[in-house]
């Protein structure tokens, strides 16, 4: 019997090594992540097969923008609640599309996972990758930085999932770094410049000498370029534009020479901690008390955020800037969102929270209208889609670059705030026509959307 067994083994050419190899290959196959196995039979990456669908919220939970990330996460949780039919429905009641019924997305309960971007591109990519590969997220959204948005957008394009950007203001996100699977609701540097320039001309005249201090990274460059070209077009002169290191905390050595340059206006192309510190330093140096060229010296902050304005305290009073949205807007959609958010959390939402909430609803609505979670179907549903009732008036998701076009707010630091949230006042709602540009505008040239990727 033993001889027969041995003979069979020889004839079948099986060996101990062969058995081990076969076992190893089988085990490796079983252990492969779902992205390479289950999906080989699926039509697209992370096609939801059960009764629920998972969204991935990639926000800064640690690092300098952690507070902004926390507000984004609150907004996402509220959006999930509303999509699943809980709470008061928020903006679902005011959204012009009525595709969403409060029964999840395509009847599937919406669940979510979170990742921590740390406001670092590599960490953000790693957390997005993990949510796609391990948690089966069908869409990634969030972030508080353009560097992170561009990096995660590229990753989502490769992986075949939709990326709904959070707070990202650089022209490049929907300019040279745009991707077919990526969409941005937030406004951009060009729009800030285009909205601010006429208001500044009205307030300060057309004969001004501007001195720019610019954060030395992608967002700083595009904002400087946008504000420079808009203000120069109305007659201002740019005296100097100085790059400041992103890690700079004390800006005194950059601010002290401003008056010597003959400038009468300082433009701070800074965000976050940079903005808080440079503005605080500029006010300390008494720039706003000075008169230069026979005019009162002025400071401008192109991109405002309420959370950052809080950090700068009383220094923001009377200083112009722009913002994507503000809780004091009186339209029905904004009021519905503020009511939902304020009732749940006890304070009004930030612009970061607003854009993240809206992006989640827009994605869900696009899936519902397309009847599929397939990224290419979602892309088709979002491209050139017009909607209203989400807080910025009539809005277009332009198909050529996946940028939202809507009204932009010019704001000013409030002189007499009534609470710690009441820091900015709306000076003008700039109509969308004034901030719309051609997709081939020089500030957005280079790069291509490419075609959508379903992955799998």
């Amino acid at each position: 019997m033993a001889d027969l067994w041995e003979e069979n083994m020889v004839n079948s050419k099986l060996s101990r090594r062969g058995v081990l190899k076969t076992g190893a290959v089988t085990s490796a196959g079983l252990a492969l992540p779902t992205i390479f196995t289950a999906q080989s039979a699926a039509a697209y990456t992370n096609e939801p097969t059960g009764s629920s669908v998972t969204l991935g919220f990639n926000v800064p939970q640690t690092g300098p923008y952690a507070d902004e990330g926390a507000d984004e996460l609150r907004a996402y949780q509220l959006a999930i609640e509303h999509l699943n039919g809980a709470g008061d429905g928020g903006m679902l009641n005011t959204f012009s599309s009525k595709a969403l019924q409060g029964n999840g997305i395509l009847g599937k309960e919406v669940k979510y996972v979170t990742g921590d971007t740390q406001t670092k591109s590599d960490a953000a990519r790693a957390s997005a990758k993990s949510m796609i590969e391990k948690d089966g997220a069908v869409m990634i959204t969030g972030g508080s930085s353009s560097g992170v948005a561009v990096a995660v957008q590229a990753l989502c394009q490769e992986a075949g999932v939709i990326f709904m950007a959070g707070l990202t203001h650089s022209n490049d996100t929907t300019g040279k770094d745009k991707r077919a699977n990526g969409f941005r609701h937030f406004f951009n540097s060009y729009m800030s410049g285009a909205a601010l320039a006429p208001v500044l001309a009205n307030a300060y005249g057309t004969d001004r000498k501007a001195y720019h201090l610019t954060a030395d990274y992608n967002w700083g460059y595009t904002t400087e370029e946008a504000v420079k070209s808009s203000t120069e077009a109305m007659g201002w002169e740019t005296v100097a534009a100085v790059k400041t290191p992103l890690t700079q905390t004390d800006f005194s050595s950059y601010i002290a020479p401003v008056l010597q340059s003959g400038a009468d206006t300082l433009v701070l192309n800074h965000y976050g901690g940079n903005m808080v510190n440079s503005l605080t330093n500029a006010v300390q140096f008494g720039l706003r008390d000075k008169q230069v060229n026979g005019k009162d010296f002025q400071i401008i902050v192109p991109l405002y955020s309420r959370l950052m304005a809080k950090g700068a305290g009383a220094n923001v009073k009377g200083i112009f800037g722009s913002t994507n949205w503000h809780w004091s807007l009186q339209d029905e959609g904004s009021q519905a969102f503020v009511r939902s958010f304020g009732t749940k959390y006890g304070f009004p939402p930030s612009q970061a929270a607003h854009t993240c909430y809206v992006q989640t609803l827009l994605y869900a609505d696009a899936v519902e209208r397309a009847g599929s979670f397939a990224p290419c179907a979602v892309v088709e549903a979002l491209e050139d889609y017009e909607f209203d009732g989400l807080g910025n008036g009539k809005t277009l998701y332009r198909g050529a670059d996946h940028q939202c076009f809507k009204d932009v707010l010019v704001v000013k630091g409030k002189e007499n705030p009534t609470s710690e949230f009441d820091l900015l006042e709306i000076v003008e709602v700039t109509p969308v026509g004034q901030v719309t540009y051609d997709p081939n505008h020089p500030q957005f040239q280079g790069g291509a959307l490419g075609s959508c990727n379903n992955g799998a």
Partner: protein
């Protein structure tokens, strides 16, 4: 000429902060032989002492103002600080306005306690361990401390302004015969420089002219012999750790009106301060002060756009460039002693 004077002034002010932190670092290294990477965190905790006192002074009770509405349309809840109830609105506001200077008194006992607890509770266990272990444990401690602060105070900067009497700037140029508005300097930064000079002078005088200081200096030179004379040098060194923590903390308190404090501010200063200590010479107190001011002034000059136009990016690397040059030409730093960190 005016641009040069302006940058020297800026440098003195930047150098004040570097010198104060580096002084504390050197005190700890010189006495205990510990490379303390948590020293920046002590600077940050000092700044948050000012934030805390400011919050204590503005502790409020709520009054409903029926005439005004909040963001949800409900009657506005107005916070009324208890100091208004206790001292009246005018005096109460004045007390709140002076929160930062008052925080100096608040911070001294807290910082000494934090320093002593840190030294007795953790760092003393690493005296005989290699410097790499000390760096790892103190760096870890720094991260823990900053995360604790972030947990309680959030990640955003918190505005902590100077008293209204010190707002605005002094026209230094006009005072010395230049055109007005050419050389201006904020009052609070002048105060910061003066404060740094007093603290540095105080520490040197304490070490130079008191018996306690003499024993400490003797211990720094030869710890074993001082111990053999029956003096409890360890206890004195622990006190010096507390003093170093207080110096860093007071530097942090006074820095809050210059930049709104955040949980990360200690780390921002730490690396630069270490460069200052190395350039000054490990263990040398005058070296730390000299290097602090020197690097502060050079950093200011490197930020001038005329300089950046000639050497792009020099503003980002100047401190490290100077450190390399000094270490190549004077390996022990500007005023380093033979045998320190050379075993």
């Amino acid at each position: 000429m005016d641009a040069i004077i302006l940058q020297v002034l800026n440098g003195l002010d930047k150098g004040s902060a570097y010198a104060l932190i580096a002084l504390g670092l050197t005190l700890i290294f010189g006495t205990l032989g510990v490379v303390n990477f948590a020293h920046g965190a002590l600077f940050m905790i000092g700044a948050f002492c000012a934030v805390t006192l400011s919050r204590i002074l503005t502790l409020s009770h709520t009054v409903i103002d029926e005439t005004r509405k909040d963001f949800l349309g409900n009657p506005l809840k107005v916070d009324v600080p208890y100091v208004h109830d206790l001292f009246g609105v005018e005096t109460g506001d004045a007390i709140i306005d002076w929160a930062v200077p008052l925080s100096l008194l608040f911070a001294i006992p807290i910082m000494i306690a934090v320093g002593v607890i840190m030294e007795r509770g953790l760092i003393k266990h690493f005296y005989k361990r290699p410097h790499a272990d000390q760096i790892l444990v103190t760096f870890g401690l720094a991260i823990v401390l900053q995360e604790v602060i972030k947990y309680f105070y959030g990640a955003n900067p918190i505005p902590t302004p100077a008293p209204a009497a010190f707002k605005g700037s002094f026209d230094f140029g006009a005072a010395i015969g230049f055109d007005p508005n050419v050389i201006i300097y904020p009052y609070w930064r002048i105060i910061y420089f003066g404060f740094a000079a007093v603290i540095i002078g105080g520490v040197f005088s304490f070490l130079q002219f008191t018996t306690f200081g003499m024993v400490v200096r003797a211990g720094m030179a030869d710890r074993e012999t001082v111990g053999l004379l029956g003096i409890n040098i360890d206890r004195r060194f622990t006190i010096m750790f507390g003093v170093a923590a207080a110096v860093a903390g007071l530097a942090g308190v006074m820095y809050t009106p210059i930049n709104s404090p955040n949980y990360h501010m200690g780390m921002d200063f730490l690396v630069l301060s270490f460069v200052v200590v190395v350039v000054g010479g490990m263990g040398s107190l005058p070296g730390a002060v000299l290097a602090g001011f020197l690097l502060g002034i050079l950093e200011s000059f490197a930020s001038m756009r005329e300089v950046i136009a000639i050497i792009p990016g020099i503003n980002q690397v100047i401190i490290y460039l100077i450190a390399i040059i000094i270490l190549l030409t004077r390996p022990r730093g500007l005023m380093g002693r033979k045998g320190v960190m050379e075993d």
